[in-house]
C-alpha cells in the first residue's frame, strides 16, 4: 500500500470543490495523517475554475506533490484542464457526462452522475459535493463514520433539514459507488499515526503565532491574499482582550501600529505587496524612532495590482530596501505553515527585543494552503521582550543612549520621569532633533549595530537549516515557500544518485553570514530557486558575497515544481565534472 496520496478536486468555483478537499483534510488530520495542500483561486468573485490538491502522507512532507494520483473532476472544463497532471496510472473520478480523451495511458476512470443524484434524488443541487465525498469514501476506504460526524458538526447549526440533506447525499454517493464503481485501483487513504494533528492555513498559523506571542493590537486594510489573517484575528483576538481595527488604508494601519507599539502594546499589521509599498515611509519612521512592529506581507503576482490571487516571491527587495535613507529592518520568511507559527513568534521576539520593524514575507500559496501542524509547535515558540527603563526622578530621560549596547531601554508613555520625544528626525540621545555630523553618524551606527547583534543572537540560531548531503558540491540557497519543492527535489535527486545540499535561512536581513560563508566554502555551484523574474535573493547573495549564482526563477503564479529544481541540479552537477573549479567563500 502506498504511503503517500496526491488527490486533486477540480471544478467550478461555487460547486463546493474546496469543501470536498477540506473535509478530506479534516478527516485525515484527525487520523494523524500529514497533509500539505495547494489551491487555486479564480480571479472572479463568483464562478471560474478552481481546484484543491491534497497530499496525504504517513510521514512529514514538504510539498503538495507533483503529478496527481487521484483526480476528481466535477465538469468537462475541469477534466480538460487537469487531466494532463494525472499520473500515468492515476485514477480519475468524474461527472458521468464528461468526455474523456480516447488515448488512455493507463488511467483508471470512474464516472458517476453526481449532478443527477443531487438534483433528482436529493433535490438539492448544492449537495453535489457531498455526493462526491460519499463516492470517495467508498473508493478510498475513508472512515465513513468520521465523515458523518464531521458533516454533522459542520451543518448542525444550519438546521435539521440541511443536515439531513447532506447525510442523505453522503449515503447516496457512497451507495452509488459501492454498487456501480467496482474498485479497480489500489489507491486508498494512507495510514495515520492516530495522533491527532491540527489543520490550519498559513494565514491562520500567522494569526495564531501572533496571538500566542502576545500581540493584542492589530490594524489592517483588506487585501488579497492576506485578509484572512485580519479576519481570523477580528473574530478571536478580542476574546484575548485584544483589538482589531480595519483602517482607512495601509498607511493608517502601519501608523496606528506605530502608535500602539510606542505606547507599549505588541502590535501588527498584515498586507500584500501594494500595501507594503504604501507602508514604506512609516517603516523608515519605525526604524528611526526605534519602535517595534511586525508587518506581514503575503506576496502575490506583481508589480502594481498584478495577479492578486496568484503566488509570487517578488517583494524581497522591497522588504529589504523599501523606504528612503539607511532604514534598518529585519526581514524574515517562513517556509511552511508550521514554520509560519514559529517565525511569526520570532518576529515579535526580535522586534520587541531590538526595537525595530520586522517584515515577514509569505506568499499566496503558503497563506492559503492547509497543512497539518503538531500541537507542540505552539507550545514551544520563541520569546523576547522590550527592555524598559525605570527613569530616575529629576534627570531628563535619555531614550537613545549611546553605549555598550545598541539597544537602549525605552520608557513607555505613562511611566513617571520617562517623558521624552520620539521622532522621525535625526535626534540626540534625548530624542531632540539634531542635524550635526557626529550625531547622525553615531545614531546611524547605533541603529545598524542592532542588526549585527541579531545575527549572533542565540534566539535566531535554529532559524537557518541545512538539508541534503553536506559534502555535495552542488548547493542550493532558497527562501520562503520555495523551500518545500527544494526539499522534495533533494530527495528525488538522491534517488537518482545525485547529491546536492541546501541552506534555507528564515532571516534574510541580517543574513546568517557565518552559516552562508561556511556553505559557500563547501559548494562549487550555487543554485537559487525563487518565484520572481530578476532573481531577487540571487541578487542579494551576489552583491553580499561576490559569488556567481545559477538562477532558477519562475513567474507563472504557481509554486516551483521539484522536477524543475532537479533539472537544475543535474545541469549543475554535469558542469562540475567538466572542468576543475574552486570553492566559493573567499569573499564577503
Amino acid at each position: 500500500m502506498q504511503s503517500d496520496l496526491v488527490l486533486r478536486v477540480a471544478g467550478e468555483s461555487g460547486e463546493g470543490v474546496i469543501t470536498i478537499g477540506e473535509t478530506l483534510c479534516k478527516i485525515a488530520a484527525r487520523e494523524g495523517i500529514h497533509i500539505v495542500t495547494f489551491r487555486t483561486f479564480p480571479a472572479e468573485i463568483k464562478g471560474g475554475s478552481c481546484m484543491i490538491q491534497v497530499r496525504l502522507s504517513e510521514r512529514r512532507i514538504p510539498y503538495h506533490g507533483e503529478g496527481v494520483d487521484f483526480l476528481v473532476c466535477l465538469n468537462q472544463d475541469a477534466v480538460d484542464e487537469n487531466l494532463p497532471d494525472l499520473k500515468e496510472h492515476g485514477v480519475l473520478l468524474c461527472e458521468a457526462e464528461c468526455d474523456l480523451p480516447e488515448k488512455n495511458p493507463g488511467w483508471t476512470a470512474y464516472k458517476a452522475p453526481f449532478d443527477r443524484i443531487a438534483t433528482r434524488e436529493i433535490g438539492s443541487r448544492i449537495s453535489k459535493n457531498i455526493v462526491v465525498l460519499g463516492a470517495l469514501s467508498h473508493l478510498l476506504s475513508l472512515p465513513k463514520e468520521t465523515i458523518e460526524k464531521f458533516i454533522s458538526e459542520k451543518f448542525a447549526r444550519k438546521g435539521k433539514t440541511v443536515l439531513d440533506h447532506n447525510l442523505d447525499a453522503l449515503q447516496r454517493g457512497f451507495d452509488f459507488a459501492r454498487s456501480h464503481l467496482a474498485k479497480k485501483d489500489s489507491y486508498r487513504l494512507p495510514k495515520g499515526s492516530g495522533r491527532k494533528r491540527l489543520l490550519m492555513t498559513g494565514n491562520e498559523a500567522i494569526a495564531i503565532g501572533a496571538t500566542a506571542a502576545g500581540m493584542r493590537y492589530f490594524f489592517g486594510y483588506p487585501i488579497t491574499p492576506a485578509s484572512e489573517i485580519m479576519e481570523w484575528l477580528a473574530a478571536h483576538l478580542p476574546k484575548m482582550g485584544g483589538v482589531v481595527l480595519q483602517t482607512e488604508d495601509e498607511i493608517s494601519a502601519i501608523c496606528s501600529v506605530a502608535g500602539a507599539s510606542w505606547a507599549g502594546g505588541k502590535s501588527m499589521t498584515s498586507t500584500s505587496g501594494p500595501g507594503l509599498s504604501l507602508m514604506s515611509e512609516t517603516i523608515g519612521l519605525l526604524s528611526m524612532a526605534e519602535i517595534p512592529a511586525v508587518i506581514v506581507d503575503s506576496q502575490r503576482g506583481g508589480p502594481s495590482t498584478g495577479m492578486p490571487t496568484k503566488t509570487e516571491q517578488s517583494d524581497l527587495l522591497l522588504a529589504l530596501y523599501g523606504s528612503h535613507g539607511d532604514a534598518t529592518r529585519v526581514v524574515m520568511a517562513p517556509t511552511s505553515v508550521s514554520d509560519s507559527l514559529r517565525v511569526t513568534a520570532l518576529a515579535f521576539a526580535v522586534a520587541e527585543k531590538y526595537q525595530l520593524p520586522v517584515i515577514m514575507l509569505v506568499d499566496q500559496a503558503l497563506s492559503a494552503r492547509l497543512e497539518t501542524v503538531d500541537r507542540e509547535t505552539v507550545e514551544r515558540l520563541p520569546q523576547g521582550s522590550r527592555s524598559c527603563a525605570s527613569p530616575a526622578d529629576g534627570a531628563p530621560f535619555v531614550r537613545y543612549q549611546l553605549g555598550a549596547s545598541a539597544v537602549s531601554p525605552a520608557a513607555l508613555p505613562g511611566t513617571r520621569g520617562g517623558e521624552h520625544m520620539v521622532t522621525g528626525m535625526e535626534h540626540d540621545e534625548r530624542g531632540n532633533f539634531a542635524c550635526d555630523e557626529e550625531t547622525h553618524t553615531a545614531m546611524t551606527v547605533k541603529r545598524f549595530r542592532k542588526l549585527a547583534a541579531i545575527e549572533s543572537d542565540p534566539l535566531v540560531a535554529e532559524f537557518c537549516t541545512r538539508l541534503g548531503d553536506e559534502n555535495s558540491e552542488v548547493g542550493i540557497v532558497t527562501w520562503g515557500s520555495s523551500a518545500g519543492p527544494v526539499e522534495e527535489a533533494l530527495a528525488i535527486a538522491k534517488g537518482l544518485g545525485i547529491s546536492a545540499q541546501a541552506i534555507i535561512p528564515r532571516i534574510l536581513n541580517p543574513l546568517p553570514h557565518q552559516e552562508l560563508k561556511t556553505f559557500f566554502g563547501k559548494v562549487k555551484r550555487v543554485i537559487v530557486p525563487e518565484l520572481n523574474f530578476v532573481g531577487q535573493l540571487a541578487t542579494l547573495l551576489r552583491s553580499t558575497y561576490r559569488i556567481p549564482t545559477i538562477g532558477l526563477t519562475k513567474v507563472k503564479g504557481v509554486p516551483l515544481a521539484p522536477s524543475e529544481i532537479v533539472e537544475k541540479i543535474v545541469e549543475a552537477e554535469s558542469t562540475l565534472n567538466a572542468r576543475s573549479t574552486r570553492a566559493y567563500g573567499r569573499a564577503g
Binding site: A212, V243, E248, A253, V257, G259
Partner: protein
C-alpha cells in the same frame, strides 16, 4: 504670577524654532496654561504630531511626544490611545499636514470617535517649506508654487470636521488666548474626538489670510444660545462667509472607539474562551 509658574512646568526647555511674530507661540502658551489648569500629570500627557511648523510643538512641551511623518499624526494618536486608554492624547498639526497629505485620515478618526483632542493650526500656508499654498489659502493666492494664482477652492476645516461627524468641533484664534485655553480644556474634557481649528498668522509667508487685524475686525463669537447638538446650524455658522465665528460649533455624545472595543471584547468572549487552548480547538 503663580499661574504662570505652573504653566511653565509644562515647558520642556527646548526653544521653539518658530519665527518671531508667529501665531503659534500663542497656541503653545494657551496649551500649557490649559494643562496647568487641568493639573494633568506630564507622564500621562502624550502629544503626537506630523510634519510642519506646528508639528514641532511636542518638542517644546514636557510630555511624551511623538513627532512623526507628514500627515500621519492622527492614525498614530489613534494607535497610542488604543493601546493605553489612560493617557491624555493630543494630536497637533497644520493645515497642510491635516488637510492635504493627511486629509484621508480625518474622516475616519472622526467617525471612529477616537477619544483624543486634535488641534489643527490653520495659518493657510506651508511655512516650514517656506511659502507654498495650502488647502486653506484664500486671500493670498500668489505663492511660490502658485505664481499665477490658485487652482482650487479653499477647504474650511471646521465645516469639514462637522460633516465628518466629529463629536466636538470648535474654532479658536491664537490671539484670543484665554478663549483658546477654554476651548482646549473643553476639548480635553470631551469624551470622544475633539477637533479644534486654531487660526494663527504666519509672520513670514502669509500675513494676509490670517491677518490679525482682519480677523479681529470680522470675528464674531458663536451665540450663547447655539445648540451644539444641532449639526446643521453648526455647519451654517462654521461655513459663514461674512463672519469668522469662534467658539464651540458641535458637542455631542456617542460611544468612543475605546467603548466599541470594549463592546467587541464582551461579544467575542460570549463566543468562546480567551485562551490558546480554546483557540486551537477549532483546528483539531
Amino acid at each position: 504670577m503663580e499661574e504662570l509658574d505652573k504653566s511653565c512646568e509644562y515647558l520642556s526647555g527646548v526653544c521653539p524654532v518658530w519665527c518671531p511674530g508667529c501665531g503659534y507661540y500663542g497656541i503653545l502658551s494657551a496649551l500649557v496654561e490649559a494643562f496647568a489648569d487641568l493639573k494633568l500629570p506630564t507622564k500621562e500627557l502624550t502629544l503626537v504630531s506630523g510634519i510642519g511648523c506646528s508639528s514641532r510643538l511636542p518638542y517644546f512641551v514636557k510630555a511624551y511626544g511623538f513627532h512623526s511623518i507628514h500627515g500621519r499624526g492622527l492614525p498614530i494618536a489613534q494607535g497610542v490611545k488604543t493601546a493605553n486608554p489612560e493617557l491624555t492624547v493630543l494630536a497637533v498639526g497644520g493645515d497642510g499636514d491635516g488637510l492635504a497629505i493627511g486629509g484621508g485620515h480625518l474622516p475616519h478618526v472622526a467617525r471612529n470617535n477616537v477619544d483624543i483632542t486634535y488641534l489643527l493650526f490653520n495659518n493657510a500656508i506651508y511655512g516650514m517649506t517656506k511659502g507654498q499654498f495650502s488647502p486653506t489659502t484664500t486671500l493670498y493666492p500668489v505663492t511660490k508654487t502658485s505664481p499665477f494664482g490658485l487652482a482650487g477652492e479653499a477647504i474650511n476645516p471646521s465645516a469639514l470636521a462637522i460633516v465628518y461627524g466629529a463629536t466636538f468641533v470648535a474654532r479658536g484664534f491664537s490671539v484670543k488666548k484665554e478663549h483658546l485655553k477654554e476651548l482646549i480644556i473643553q476639548g480635553i474634557h470631551h469624551r470622544g474626538f475633539s477637533f479644534i481649528e486654531v487660526l494663527a498668522s504666519c509672520s513670514s509667508f502669509n500675513t494676509t489670510d490670517m491677518n490679525v487685524a482682519r480677523i479681529v475686525k470680522n470675528l464674531e463669537m458663536i451665540p450663547e444660545d447655539h445648540n451644539p447638538e444641532d449639526a446643521i446650524e453648526a455647519l451654517r455658522l462654521a461655513a459663514d462667509q461674512e463672519k469668522i465665528r469662534l467658539g464651540v460649533f458641535v458637542r455631542n455624545q456617542r460611544p468612543t472607539l475605546g467603548d466599541k472595543f470594549q463592546e467587541m471584547r464582551r461579544k467575542a468572549k460570549g463566543k468562546g474562551a480567551g485562551n490558546m487552548e480554546a483557540l486551537l480547538g477549532q483546528f483539531a
